[in-house]
């Protein structure tokens, strides 16, 4: 062999050794992290803030030494609020990123598209959104599936309980006649139909309206019909884009029912700054005021603002934070990533969440692992959302009646 040939041979060997060492180091580094795969709609504030809260939780856990001595690694994929993108995200996270646990999730429609893909991989999945009972029906028999958000019928039951408790505790509040204004899409219509069943002891009437989200935004005819009905409680079920215009148009025509309830999935950021927000009642899993009664919530609030220089504005932020902590604590308890051990550890969850309640998993109607069961009844008071029910987490007394000022 010539000198040139020997040199070439040495170079090939050196390159081969480098490749082997490099791959070894890469594999070692890869084994060193615990991978969480989150799927969220990043273009929407719910997904954007949930993703930030997840990053915050991961950063806190890693700064405290990680889980089982290993660092958490968070992979976030945008589902763009589309079922096909969500399903593709599951495939990507399972096959390319090889995540250990699936977390995240918002919309029921998107999740119904993701579930068949999740069933292919059967990895442990802890989901924070997707409240439709259709999702529950699609998740029957999945022992690796954990669902944190209350199902729609659980929410309905909690409102029934909440209003009953409020009327008992505060006899001034009397509800027998209710008008429901609901957006004419699937969300509003199914909410209205569910409410008719849940509140069958009330005299209910309702009318659909076209949400601003779909090119509507003139609610005056529905509001006038509600005013003619003279209800004890007026409830509108729509989107955040309807919130302030709805209040303005109610003020414009002089409609001030004793209870004015809004039930959008999230409120616009500036809603509290309007004097028209005063006394408006809403439903939700969390309000910033919970930090006044919950140290965990206070810690979450402070840490989120310190890290992102913005306030968490949707309950999906504390839910995202809860999502990561619940999984991390379960892995710590299990001592391994082995699936069955992790499922058993998750079943033993007892996590004091920033939403106020302690999270545990118990069976719901159809699945074995349901987390929260109740929503909260909130009221806008002096620009802040206060919890008025459940009384255990109440941050303020209810203000009654609604004055529209």
């Amino acid at each position: 062999m010539s000198l040139k040939g020997k040199r070439m041979g040495l170079r090939v060997w050196a390159l081969a050794i480098l490749v082997v060492v490099g791959v070894g180091l890469f594999v070692a580094a890869d084994e060193g992290t615990i991978k969480l795969g989150a799927i969220l709609p990043l273009g929407d504030i719910t997904g954007a803030q949930a993703s930030k809260a997840m990053q915050l939780a991961v950063a806190e856990i890693n700064a405290a030494g990680g889980v089982l001595g290993r660092q958490l690694e968070l992979f976030i994929v945008d589902d763009e609020s589309k079922p096909d993108k969500g399903a593709a995200a599951v495939d990507l996270l399972a096959t390319v990123d090889n995540v250990d646990v699936f977390i995240g999730g918002m919309s029921s429609g998107v999740h119904l598209g993701e579930l068949p893909a999740l069933k292919k991989y059967e990895k442990v999945t802890v989901w924070i959104g997707a409240a439709s009972s259709l999702v529950e029906q699609a998740a029957v028999g999945l022992d690796w599936y954990f669902h944190i958000h209350p199902w729609d019928y659980l929410q309905g039951a909690s409102y029934v309980q909440g209003w009953a408790d409020l009327q008992t505790q505060y006899p001034l509040i009397k509800i027998s006649k209710v008008f429901w204004a609901y957006e004419d899409g699937a969300f509003g219509t199914s909410s209205f139909q569910g409410s008719l069943v849940a509140f069958s002891n009330w005299l209910n009437s309702g009318e659909p309206f076209k949400s601003a989200l779909l090119g509507g935004g003139d609610y005056r005819s529905v509001l006038r019909h509600a005013m003619d009905y003279d209800p004890d409680m007026f409830v509108w079920v729509g989107y955040a884009a309807d919130a302030l215009p709805m209040m303005e148009q109610a003020a414009e025509i002089g409609f001030t029912p004793p209870l004015f309830v809004g039930s959008p999935p999230g409120w616009p950021a500036d809603f509290g700054t309007s004097p028209l927000a005063e006394g408006v009642i809403s439903y939700g899993m969390w309000a910033p005021s919970i930090k006044d009664v919950s140290p965990v919530s206070q810690h979450f609030w402070d840490a989120y603002i310190a890290k992102f220089s913005e306030q968490p504005a949707t309950y999906f932020a504390p839910l995202g934070y809860t999502n990561v902590y619940v999984v991390a604590e379960a892995i710590q308890r299990a001592g391994t990533l082995e699936k069955q051990a992790l499922i058993t550890a998750l079943e033993a969850t007892n996590y004091a969440s920033p939403l106020g309640e302690t999270l545990t998993f118990t069976p719901s109607k159809l699945i074995a692992h349901q987390g929260f069961r109740n929503q909260k009844i909130l009221q806008w008071q002096d620009g802040q959302q206060q919890v008025i029910w459940p009384f255990a987490y109440a941050t303020a007394l209810p203000r009654y009646p609604f004055t529209g000022k």
Binding site: E207, G215, P245, I253
Partner: protein, 311 residues
């Protein structure tokens, strides 16, 4: 002459019937009339700049609503940083959106003027998507709306109580129609635009710079719709997809009125607004409002086609 007399008679009859309907509505469904004029004013106001582009440049601008949405965001953030009321923010919006319109024309529209109509549609659709995605990336899908106490001011007439502020759309639509008509008939640029809109080749032959006219009209239209976005914000939330439904409504209104017929855009807007409000005033039939909108549109187009065939 006979045809002219018949037409006039027809027009007088139409006017009398319209007045009769309005009086009947005032007695029977006064709120539907009042609120119909207000919502129709908004439709007409938003549609006018689109009609101007379509009439002169000959392009259906599918990004029309997105420019309005960006105008609303512009006014919102100007309000946040400077405390400027959205109605005052219409003035800087006019300037900013004239520049944006000019840039859009020079970078995109100009290059597609000779392209097939489908390509032009796809181009403006692309501009619309860029606008919506830009807003989504910048401000997320969270709706924004400033609190403005004057928007819920109300008036009382006998037993009737109704919002007074929303008439700003009705009045603005009429004022804009008058101003645009004056501009098109009394100014050099306006007359050039009319000539270009009717016969570009002929206009070129008499020395009109077509490209400069297109640029001016496109920029003016985008400036107007940007400023209208600021006015839209006073009563509506803004979010990335807030504008797109108005592109559709504006286009339908122009189709109803006939291309280049600005007064009919305004009267058609009022007519559709009143028709929608009338349907909405019947409890439980609100879902038919959109059907009425498109039914009127189809009926007018069919009627016009029938008239042309029989003439």
């Amino acid at each position: 002459m006979r045809l002219l007399r018949r037409l006039r008679r027809g027009q007088v009859l139409l006017l009398l019937v319209s007045l009769g309907v309005l009086v009947l509505m005032m007695l029977w469904k006064p709120y539907a009339l009042i609120e119909g004029l207000q919502r129709g004013g908004l439709y007409a106001l938003i549609a006018l700049p689109m009609a101007l582009i379509l009439g002169v440049v000959g392009i259906i601008n599918l990004a029309h609503g997105e420019f309005m949405m960006l105008g609303a965001y512009f006014a919102y953030w100007l309000g946040v940083y400077t405390g400027l009321d959205p109605l005052v923010a219409m003035i800087p919006a006019l300037v900013a959106f004239a520049l944006l319109g000019a840039a859009t024309y020079l970078l995109t529209i100009r290059r597609a003027l000779k392209a097939p109509e489908l390509n032009q549609l796809l181009l403006t659709f692309g501009v619309a998507m860029v606008g919506a995605e830009f807003a989504n990336l910048m401000w997320t899908s969270q709706p924004l709306k400033p609190h403005l106490s004057y928007v819920y001011s109300s008036m009382t007439l006998g037993k009737l109580r109704f919002g007074a502020y929303a008439f700003v759309y009705t009045v603005s639509a009429i004022v804009l129609l008058v101003l645009l008509s004056l501009f098109l008939r009394r100014t050099r640029l306006g007359r050039a635009a009319l000539a270009v809109g009717q016969n570009p080749r002929g206009a070129k032959l008499v020395g009109i710079d077509i490209n400069r006219t297109y640029l001016a009209i496109f920029s003016l239209s985008i400036a107007l719709v940007g400023a209208i976005g600021a006015m839209f914000l006073t009563r509506n939330s803004v979010f990335p997809s807030a504008g797109s439904p108005y592109t559709m409504k504006s286009f339908c209104l122009i189709a109803l009125a006939g291309i280049g017929n600005l007064p009919s855009v305004v009267w058609g807007g009022f007519g559709l607004g009143i028709a929608e409000a009338l349907v909405l005033s019947f409890r439980g039939y609100g879902g038919w409002a959109d059907v009425v909108f498109f039914a009127v549109l189809v009926a007018v187009i069919l009627g016009r086609s029938y008239r042309r065939q029989t003439a």
